[in-house]
């Protein structure tokens, strides 16, 4: 088929043949341009919506921008100095690292167990699979709001259940204490990350052939030994994909914190993504400083992913 299309493309861009050298040059140009109608629109849109804004983000972080979006000239590193002078910045960054590492770690561990459960044969497996998938289709904003309602101080079901079980004596105003609010929001972040992660792991489990387990059984390996020596190493590619996608998603998660605490009290439950948003759009918004925060966020994600790859790769070498 590609012959047809190349011929077609070349025919469309090549006028009547003139002298031989120019024809071949034109034909080569025609051949080079042939895929353009096919990939051109996609390239232009990806460029305009993703690549160009990345460049512009870096440029904006070096400019003075008025609140109406007009450029008021160069600012050098002024926006970065403002950002690093923010008294909350250090605690926000530390909290972001705890948020990302904690949520992704718990998600992966729980998903490993969930994947095992969803892969096992028991009546009602299909219904459990459906239930696990639900938070994937539901909007994160709605899930966060529902949890906020369930955590309500006076009427929330969480307090009633915990009181009924004798775990707490008095209702707790969970979301007004920064530490407890953070724990609950991390739980919600885990909750919405589980479906994708456990299904990636489930898919990974299904690619492991039965005879590998058979061989382990013949060799007399126990359940735990089989799991840690065979299943887990064979799951590595799935775990790698799941972890990296989760790091990026969790880092950028905005609706959970926005809906449940708004980052408050103060900035005590902000991560760097909600903090970036507040810098630009709340009160005396400063778009330049917010762009500087976005650049720092980019760097942080890159570092987190690279550190993760490093750790994983290093362990892989140690194992082999």
């Amino acid at each position: 088929m590609h012959d047809t299309i190349e011929a077609h493309g070349a025919g469309a861009t090549t006028p009547a043949p003139a002298s031989p050298p120019s024809t071949s040059a034109l034909r080569r140009l025609g051949r080079a341009l042939a895929p353009l109608p096919w990939i051109g629109p996609a390239v232009i849109l990806i460029g305009a919506v993703v690549l160009w804004p990345v460049i512009e983000m870096v440029r904006t972080s070096l400019l003075r921008i008025s609140s109406s979006g007009a450029t008021l000239g160069n600012r050098g590193t002024g926006n970065y100095r403002d950002l690093f002078d923010e008294s909350d910045l250090v605690s926000v960054l530390l909290r972001t690292v705890v948020w990302v590492v904690g949520v992704v770690l718990v998600t992966i561990v729980v998903s490993l167990a969930l994947g095992q459960l969803l892969n096992a044969r028991f009546p009602g497996r299909r219904i459990v699979r459906w239930a696990v998938i639900v938070p994937w289709a539901a909007s994160v904003l709605m899930t966060a709001l529902t949890w906020k309602w369930m955590l309500n101080y006076y009427y929330g079901i969480v307090n009633k259940v915990l009181q009924g079980a004798g775990l707490i004596d008095h209702p707790v105003n969970w979301l007004s204490h920064p530490t407890q609010a953070m724990m609950w929001m991390m739980w919600v972040a885990v909750f919405v990350s589980l479906p994708f992660t456990s299904f990636v792991i489930l898919a990974g489990l299904q690619t492991i052939p039965e005879d590998v387990y058979e061989a382990a059984r013949v060799d007399g390996a126990g359940r735990a030994r089989t799991y840690f020596r065979i299943t887990l190493p064979l799951l590595r590619p799935s775990l790698l994909v799941a972890a990296i996608i989760n790091v990026i998603n969790v880092f950028n998660s905005f609706p959970i914190i926005y809906a449940m605490t708004g980052g408050g009290p103060g900035s005590k439950t902000d991560t760097s993504t909600t903090f970036m948003y507040k810098l630009a759009f709340s009160g005396s918004g400063d778009v330049g400083e917010s762009a500087a925060m976005a650049v720092v966020n980019f760097g942080l994600i890159l570092i987190l992913v690279l550190v993760y790859l490093r750790v994983v790769g290093w362990r892989g070498e140690a194992q082999s």
């Binding site: 459906w130 239930a131 539901a138 904003l141």
Partner: protein, 280 residues
């Protein structure tokens, strides 16, 4: 070989536990949405409404709280999500065909670009995109929002569909070409029907993403009559932070159609997505 009894009991217990925890928030949302205020704000909440009411749904749909009717938000959301699905599906399929079928100079560059772009944290781009749209006077326009959603959906879509196109045997297209069909005809009559399953999987995914997306819609669309459903939810929530009846009714209206749809297509969709993710 049957598993021992204790193992079957443990598996079933774990299954029930997982089911309860996963499904409870959605259950509680729906239950709250149907409860009269007296039962919502009660010190002894019951699992199910004792006197179910449609009042909260009524106040969401007629717009007496948000000022604009639910159907306006719904129409905007549907327009944005459908346009995103159709445009990104078509453009992604074109690009995937080129990548899977032609050899051209920057092919590898394009493939690497697709992978790198998927690593970009989109949320960090809300500021520059806001500035861009403002300069182009496309803030508050559904077209601007659709363009952004399509741009974000494309890298994943092309990457997914590439595998589906490559799996179609070339002989079919060559036979069609021998019969005198042009490239466009081959594309629409031979390729399109054969990659339809892949197209369905990516479409469902981009539909759900566009339908649920909050941050960009919230930042770009400032007029209530242009806003999408997640912003309606935010509006209820922002203005009357304690009016949980309408908030949960609005959440139900936003979520249930998508969950029902997702469960219907999940088998095909999950295997397709996961295969793409693991291969990638």
């Amino acid at each position: 070989m049957r598993a021992p009894l204790w193992r079957r009991v443990a598996l079933n217990a774990a299954g029930v536990g997982v089911f309860l925890v996963s499904a409870f928030p959605v259950f509680w949302m729906i239950s709250t949405a149907f409860k009269p205020n007296g039962e919502i704000f009660s010190s002894t909440p019951h699992p199910l409404p004792e006197h179910p009411t449609l009042r909260h749904f009524g106040s969401v749909v007629d717009g007496s709280v948000a000022g604009v009717s639910f159907w306006s938000y719904f129409a905007n959301s549907a327009a944005v999500a459908i346009a995103t699905v159709v445009i990104s599906g078509l453009l992604a399929l074109l690009a995937a065909t080129a990548v899977a079928r032609f050899r051209f100079r920057f092919r590898t560059t394009f493939l690497v670009l697709l992978l790198v772009v998927q690593m970009v944290p989109c949320e960090a781009l809300v500021i520059p995109l806001f500035i861009d749209l403002k300069r182009m006077e496309m803030l508050n326009s559904l077209v601007g929002l659709i363009a952004v959603y399509v741009g974000f959906a494309l890298p994943f879509g092309v990457w997914m569909l590439r595998g589906f196109v490559a799996a179609v045997p070339k002989e079919l297209e060559e036979a069609a070409a021998l019969d005198g069909a042009g490239p466009l005809r081959i594309f629409f009559r031979v390729l399109l029907p054969l990659v339809a399953p892949g197209l369905v999987a990516t479409s469902v995914f981009s539909f759900i993403t566009a339908w649920n997306e909050f941050l960009f819609a919230y930042t770009f669309l400032k007029d209530q009559d242009k806003a999408t459903l997640p912003i309606m939810l935010q509006f209820f929530f922002g203005r009357s932070g304690n009016d949980w009846g309408p908030i949960m009714a609005a959440s139900t209206l936003l979520t249930l159609p998508v969950i029902a749809f997702f469960l219907l297509v999940q088998r095909r969709m999950v295997s397709g997505l996961v295969a793409g993710a693991v291969k990638g």
